[in-house]
Symmetry: C2
Subunit: 274 residues, 2 copies
């Protein structure tokens, strides 16, 4: 069975001159398929198109991407496809080519093995000692998009492994909550759902966008510092593969359970995974 | 003639699961060879070893790397080798594998076509409107090393192309001078050579390290804000491929010429390129 497609070619490889490999010069989307379809497809395509605009890449044809996803799924009902777009080869060192010919890379993966366990028992989260490097001018350019220069996230993940944590609460240098490692954060306080933000360095998460549309005014958004978290607060992490998921512990401290989560998880299953 | 080596294999390709391609999860060195040898080899190896230590990668064997460089040069006296080390495949999304098996990628390139012209007429530099995103905790982890999550540099280079600039004066969010796009900055003021810094986000440049050792106390180091540059200041950019090179214009304004540069360029040729 084909494992991946590179520019549509099954199991093809990539030359080491590809700028994705040289410089992390690309974008990606991690797309969950249930019953062969992705209910969040349009949101992924919107973010990808915005990323291409910001990086100066020609936007890919969503029809072609959809067709290649179908080919790669080959009848598999449930799978995750990691769809990557790089700037391809060419240019001179950091200087990009004038007319880039992007590389399309689709890799099929199984759902994470621990996804059901994490949903059932919740997630062990750790406050990352590695703050996101973020300054306003740079985040104007890279903030929000799902680009592939992700060494900060790799180091944060390695730190989680060292401390047996599933996820990280990622802050900026001022201690403001930016996001999770692999999802956005939702804070539930006194029955109110709050998305900490908007933060210029946070990825514009597709799972969070689903919640924002589904919840409407029931989800408010405002900046939250980690130091402002209180004893009775509940936290969720939400991403487009796992949906909303409870944070069971933060830095080893048990967090309050949350009566609203089950309802939102049910809605997620009905709208996204059914 | 072999164009590159991947783990020692001529012209081999890379699977799209390589973490260098997925996340910019790797390091590189750009090494100039003259007469088949690199006078700065040891400095490159020191920086690469430090990068591996910080990223949690097993350090490569310098003997093996030297042997592969020789094989790839195949008698070519003058060439540049881009030596890349990625974390290889494996792990789970951002989470790195416990025992990474790095990928070694050596790509041979010619010297930049405009190197002699740039040395002769100097470089047109532009103050980058994209500041480096830098916070102390993150730069503790990624500062100084030559990692391959370089999308900020790609965007700075694209901005230079849009404005017909050869190089960028890269600042942080507070306006302090960090480095150039592809080299470090040296400021010459009233006959004094100053390396602006140390800055936690700056790459620990091999060319600058050569100058530091060669100049001794004649090169001082102190933080310099772009706003503090004065009319009579001269600027150089120095990297390990081009050596010290005059900045002719900054944002279109002609900079003062500098009587010391010719002497240092001569010394560079004698020690590095002869």
């Amino acid at each position: 069975m084909t494992r991946w497609l590179v520019n549509g070619v099954p199991d093809a490889l990539v030359p080491p001159t590809d700028r994705g490999l040289l410089y992390g010069d690309g974008l990606f989307e991690t797309i969950a398929f249930h019953g062969g379809r992705s209910a969040l497809w349009r949101l992924h395509m919107v973010r990808l198109a915005e990323g291409c605009r910001r990086l100066g890449l020609p936007p890919p044809d969503p029809e072609l991407l959809a067709e290649e996803c179908r080919a790669l799924l080959a009848g598999t009902a449930h799978a995750v496809i990691r769809l990557g777009i790089t700037r391809g080869s060419g240019g001179r060192a950091y200087f990009p080519p004038e007319s880039p010919e992007p590389t399309r890379i689709m890799v099929r993966r199984e759902f994470p093995a621990d996804i059901d366990a994490q949903r059932a028992r919740g997630i062990a989260m750790r406050t990352s000692p590695i703050a996101l490097a973020a300054g306003p001018p740079a985040t104007d350019h890279l903030g929000g998009i799902k680009h592939s220069s992700r060494l900060e996230q790799v180091l944060i993940a390695a730190d989680c492994m060292d401390h047996a944590a599933d996820e990280a609460l990622v802050l900026d240098a001022e201690g403001m909550i930016v996001e999770g490692l692999a999802g956005n954060i939702v804070l539930v306080r006194a029955g109110e759902m709050i998305a900490p933000g908007p933060h210029p360095a946070a990825v514009a998460g597709v799972g969070l966008e689903w919640l924002r549309r589904a919840a409407g005014p029931a989800l408010s958004e405002r900046p939250v510092a980690a130091a402002q978290l209180q004893g009775g607060d509940s936290l969720w992490v939400i991403n487009s593969v796992r949906g909303p998921c409870r944070v069971r512990t933060l830095d080893g401290r048990e967090l309050a359970p949350d009566s609203r989560l089950a309802g939102w998880q049910r809605r997620w299953f009905e709208e996204i995974e059914k």
